[in-house]
Amino acid sequence: MTRFLAQTSPVADSTTSVVTPSIDFLGLLPVLLLTAGAVLLLMFRSLIPPPMNLSSPMKTSSVKRLFSFETAWMFVLAVGGLVTVVVQWFRVQDEGPIAVFGSEFASDGLALFAAAVILISVAAVALLLPRFCEQAQIKKAELYVLLMLSAAGGVVMTGANDLIVMFLGLETLSIALYVMVALNRHGLMSIEAGIKYFVLGSFSSAFFLYGIAMIYSTTGTTRISGINAFFADYIVLRDGVLLTGLALLLVGLCFKVASVPFHAWLPDVYQMAPTPITAFMASAVKVAGFAALMRVIVLALGERAHNWQPAVFVLASATLLLGAILATVQNNIKRLLAYSSISHAGFMLVGVQAASHEGVAAVLFYLAVYAVISLGSFTIVSLLTGPDGDGDSATVASAAGLASRKPLLTAAFVVLLLAQAGIPLTSGFMSKFYVISAAVEARSFWLAVVAIVSAVITAFAYLRIVVSMYFTSDIPATADDGIPSDVDTVKDCHSDIPVAADTGKGDNLERPLTAAHLTTLKLGIPAGKGDPLTGAERLPIGAVVVVSVAVVVTLLVGVLPSPLVSLALDASANLLGSIP
């Protein structure tokens, strides 16, 4: 009828037909804060450039390193976003999941849980960035701005109840990341990693998009709750296009979460990206990717689970095994952690494959736990010193004897590595336990077996680092040998300050050094206080805060998992749309 009217009296139609959706500002607030914050920061920094002394590392005090204006701004905004997420969480608990903005956006358990993890990792990365910017001589606020926009894209992606919005969120997240990856100081290597990421990322986005078009062809809507309702009401008999679309969607999303046949970009990108950005990718980007994957696969296409479960089964097994095996043969620590993040993605896929509320809760729990662990681990990597004087080049061999030089840091690293390996009393064990039990409940016994085998294999990779740090020759031993390599090793413990390295060498020559002496000399760590006499580098406070919080949370969740588990269960109980 309206269509008929539209033909006869176009003017009347165009003035009356628009029904604008009500705007739920609370639902939008996390995204709004990040975006507006990024724009304001950009304007502020272009009007008032930062003081010039940032160029020399020695002049800035450690206090200033933590509280650079950008860091404080980003941290406050992330925490503010977190508060709005918590307020929404209570609303969802009271009123159930709701769709806002004409049902383009979801305010449900999955969206809020994932958004909270993303915002937490933004806050953590905010603390890590000043040190990187200082080392890389980036004086402008661009990295902060891009990171906030990227995180805003991630939050949009987790909350999207429309495939269009999800795609746009994904692209915002990715485009900012392509740039940030290429910004590291390795010059060409970083640019190449950026190119690789860009080509494969845009390629996979195109697949994702084609998949959306195919799904749209079958259902006639791009709303995820609408697709969910469509499959609950109709049975598609001639489903060739639907299945092709499903496959393309799966390929696109598996590129983003780096499941095995589509993982080739991840090791290079993780290794070459600035370490804070790597931490962001391993935590926030993974969360956004899996939240989107679960929303598309488990929620929208839950009725077709019998179609995609076998595919995810194969993807998960391949990811688990290949990620684990390749992790064991890596020598570079950052690269090793990158491969291990592939095998972690495999564990999460195990939970996705279950296609149940328990599975979703287990994946959310795993995501939260792994986000904390990876933030801590990559922060520690950024504090290590490899042959090139920075964490990016640290190898398993160059970590030898670290325990005697940096005992607290090493202990923290060991806790996080054991958590990644899934040793009991750490959060990693609990997360693996819940994922595997979800798989068992979904009767995917073989997948559970593969997951356990993979956990055993990766444990070997982590233990290699632990053994290297604790049980291989440390400084005094190599100093006795007098081979040229010991100069490098001594420089190692002094980080990148040549003056300090010289005094260290002098010390070595004049009097025998015990491990304990070295420890007190170089790194009387507590809260990052360096030794003022030797001028050894202080640990940056931001990194210390992140690592200690990560370790405490990891241990706490390992001992007392129930609060986080019940949060994850609440989240999976309040989903917009139903899991059949």
């Binding site: 060409l188 190449e192 195109a206």
Partner: protein, 99 residues
């Protein structure tokens, strides 16, 4: 008109684009192939929109055009950066495995 004729055309363009991404080594040409794929998606979307009598397909196509423009912008900036650093736009030279 058959719906399938549009969809087949779009599918063929998609496959040509995939071939291009896999074969091309020059960064700009890889980008062009990606654009070809995005364009084929647009044909699909508009055809499905017309098929369902739903304006969503067209709206989505408009957004895809915007995204394509953004991607080309970033892509060319990266190609430019690479060119400035090593005077080539050959992705494959940089151990660019298309995995």
């Amino acid at each position: 008109m058959l719906l399938n004729s549009f969809l087949l055309l779009a599918g063929l363009l998609f496959c040509i684009g995939v071939y291009g991404v896999l074969v091309r080594r020059n960064g700009i040409m890889v980008l062009m192939s990606v654009e070809l794929i995005l364009n084929s998606v647009n044909i699909n979307l508009v055809a499905f929109g017309a098929f369902h009598g739903d304006v969503g397909g067209e709206v989505f196509a408009l957004f895809v055009i915007a995204v394509a423009a953004a991607e080309v912008g970033i892509g060319l900036a990266i190609v430019l950066l690479m060119y400035r650093n090593r005077l080539t736009t050959d992705f494959a030279e940089a151990d660019m495995l298309k995995g």
